[in-house]
Structures are given as C-alpha cells and as structure tokens.
C-alpha cells in the first residue's frame, strides 16, 4: 500500500520536474538503463555529473573574478561548452540551455573585442588625448596659438 502511494507520488514529482523543464527525456532514458546487474547506474552517472558540473561552475566563477582586465573568455566559453555537454548527457535541460546562452555571450565578447581590450583601448585613448591636451597647454603658456583658433 505504502509503495503504491509512493509510486504515485514519484510519478507526479517526475512529471512536475519534467514540465518545469528542469529535466528532459534524456534523464528518463538514463533511468531505463538500470537493470538487476546495474541497479545504481543512474545514481552513479548523476553523482559524476554533480561533481563535474560543480567543478566547472567553480572554474567559470573563478575566471570571472580575475579582475576585469584578465578575464579569459575563451576558457569560460570552453568550460561552458563542457558543462553544456555533460548537462545534456544527463538531461539537465535548464542548465544545458543556460550554458548555450552563456557561451553565446562569451563568444560575442570575444569576437567583438574582449573586455580586456576595451580596458586597454580606453587607457590608451585616455593617455593619447591627455598628451595632446598637455602639449596644447604648453603652447598656450608659451604664448602660441592652437590650430583651429
């Protein structure tokens, strides 16, 4: 009796989690790979996934915390790609989709000139303009005229 109630509860829970898009059919596929000889297969695979996923998320977090001039978006993109792969393998749908978006964002930043380059170009531009202003002030102080005046 208890087992029957629990089974219904499991079905309802699984259906809900599926509907929420947290897991997809791939997760169910993995569950069907269990048999008498390999009853813990799903647990083992998912445990590996949690371990690997946590590591990758930690790596991505660390990379983003490197200080704005040194963020390696290439590495973040690669880590996100790996995370996407293992998430898709176990049916963790929402994480998979998030990784795709994440990667797209990183690739965009890489192709449009990364954040580092933005900082660099800003510093460079600032320096060069300040050099121009400095000279102009010197010219004026020396009684000279500025071009365009």
């Amino acid at each position: 009796m208890d087992a029957k109630l629990l089974q219904r509860e499991l079905l309802e829970l699984t259906t809900r989690v599926l509907e929420e898009g947290v897991i997809d059919k791939q997760f169910l596929e993995i569950q069907t790979l269990r048999d008498e000889d390999n009853p813990n297969f799903t647990d083992e695979v998912v445990a590996l996934f949690f371990e690997d996923a946590q590591k990758l998320i930690n790596e991505i977090t660390k990379a983003l915390e490197q200080g704005q001039n040194y963020v390696d978006f290439g590495k973040i993109s690669a880590d996100a790609h790996q995370l996407k792969g293992i998430s898709a393998s176990v049916g963790a749908k929402r994480i998979t989709d998030l990784c795709i978006a994440f990667r797209g964002f990183c690739d965009q930043l890489i192709s449009e000139g990364s954040l580092q380059q933005l900082h660099y170009e800003f510093s460079l531009t600032k320096n060069k303009i300040e050099s121009i202003f400095k000279l102009e002030k010197q010219i004026l102080a020396a009684g000279g005229m500025l071009p365009g005046m």
Binding site: Q26, E29, I30, T32, L33, D35, N38, F41, E44, V45, L48, F49, D52, H81, Q82, K84, G85, I86, A88, S89, V90, G91
Partner: protein, 213 residues
C-alpha cells in the same frame, strides 16, 4: 559446426568525458556489444595499433613462407569505433582520418558522435569516411544503427575472401591464412580476421571454405 545466432561484436568507444564514456558503455553493453572505452584519440590508436603491430609480424612471417599461425594470435579485434567529435588534442575527426589512412584499420566502421548539429561538420566527417554521424546525447535506439555497419564491413571482407579462395591453388592445404591470403597486404588484415580462431569469425571462415571445397 555451431552457428552462433548473435555474434558479440567488439566496439571501441572514444570520449574524453567520463560521464559520456559511462553512458556509451552502458548503452553498448545493454545492446549486447563487447566494449572497450578510452578517453582520447591517441589511446584509441594505441589500442588499435596492437592489431597493426601484429599484422606486421604476420606479414614478415608470410614472406618467409612459414604458416606461423601459432605465434600470431589476434587478441584484440575491433569491429567498430564510435568516437566523440570534440576532444582535446586529437579530435574525433583526426582519429577518423588516421583510421581511414591506415591500411590495416581503414575497413573498421567509424561512427562520430557530436553535440553540435552542424551540417558542415557532418558532411566533412562523412566525406572522410565516417559511416554514421550521431547527435548527442546518444540514445539506446541509436545502438541499433551499429550492427548494420559492422555486418556491411564483414560482408565486404567475406566477398573478398571468397574471391581470393577461388583464385588460390592451395585450397586443399590446411586453412592457414598464410596460404590463402595471397599477396595483397591491404586485404590481409581482414582475411586474418575471418580465419582467426574466434567464435564470430570462425563461423564465416568455415562457411567460406566449405562452399569452395
């Protein structure tokens, strides 16, 4: 002669992800395949290279006209290679190329798995000789696609073997691969496969010989 209804074929699975390796191994075993998994293309070549090395030894024995079947025992035969495309170092594509460029390995069917559904990638692989391209995550139903490729390859080998035997004079001699194999080193490996004393191939070889005799 016992006929084995479902020969167990040996699949070499290559993937750098431990999760995917675990999954593909389970999928393959559930589908009655014998499985070896490796985590890189270079390890795969190393594993397959065992076959190549033994082929070279066999060739040396042939040229010195000894029926050296006893010293040559093909321990590891791989009937199909299934590999991930995206791997660090040697990609699945690189591995595919290396296999298809090898005289002894090129007849092994190769299947590529990838999470990216990129038409250019797919056609590139197929052009290079991949027998199939599977989209990840791979499912149990995908495993049904493997056997036809293995059997197709074996059929080709059997036909070649058949032709070779009809041309050979020493048909009544002991069924040693050295006598029947002839000079074409390209086909040699596959012929040796069919004559080596293993369950699946013994079936093919005895049938082939019986038909001729």
């Amino acid at each position: 002669m016992t006929i084995v209804a479902e020969p167990q074929f040996h699949v070499l699975a290559v993937d750098d992800s431990i999760i995917d390796r675990k999954l593909i191994e389970r999928l393959l075993k559930t589908s009655s395949f014998q499985v070896t998994t490796v985590d890189s293309g270079s390890k795969a070549l190393e594993f397959l290279g065992l076959v190549e090395q033994e082929e070279e030894e066999q060739q040396q024995q042939q040229t010195s006209s000894t029926s050296g079947l006893s010293s040559y025992h093909q321990e590891i035969e791989v009937n199909l290679v299934i590999t991930d495309y995206c791997m660090p170092g040697m990609t699945g594509y690189d591995l595919l190329k290396k296999i298809k460029e090898s005289s002894s390995l090129k007849n092994i069917p190769v299947i590529i798995m990838s999470s990216e559904n990129a038409p250019s990638r797919i056609s590139r692989c197929l052009e290079e000789g991949a027998d199939e391209f599977l989209l990840k995550p791979v499912k149990l139903s995908d495993m049904k696609k493997l056997r036809p490729h293995i059997l197709k390859g074996k059929c080709k080998d059997q036909q070649k073997q058949h032709q070779k035997i009809t041309c050979s004079i020493d048909i009544t001699a002991a069924p040693s691969p050295t006598l029947v194999a002839g000079s074409a080193s390209k086909r040699k490996s596959m012929e040796d496969d069919t004559l080596a004393p293993q369950r699946t191939r013994a079936r093919f070889s005895s049938e082939t010989l019986t038909v001729i005799i």
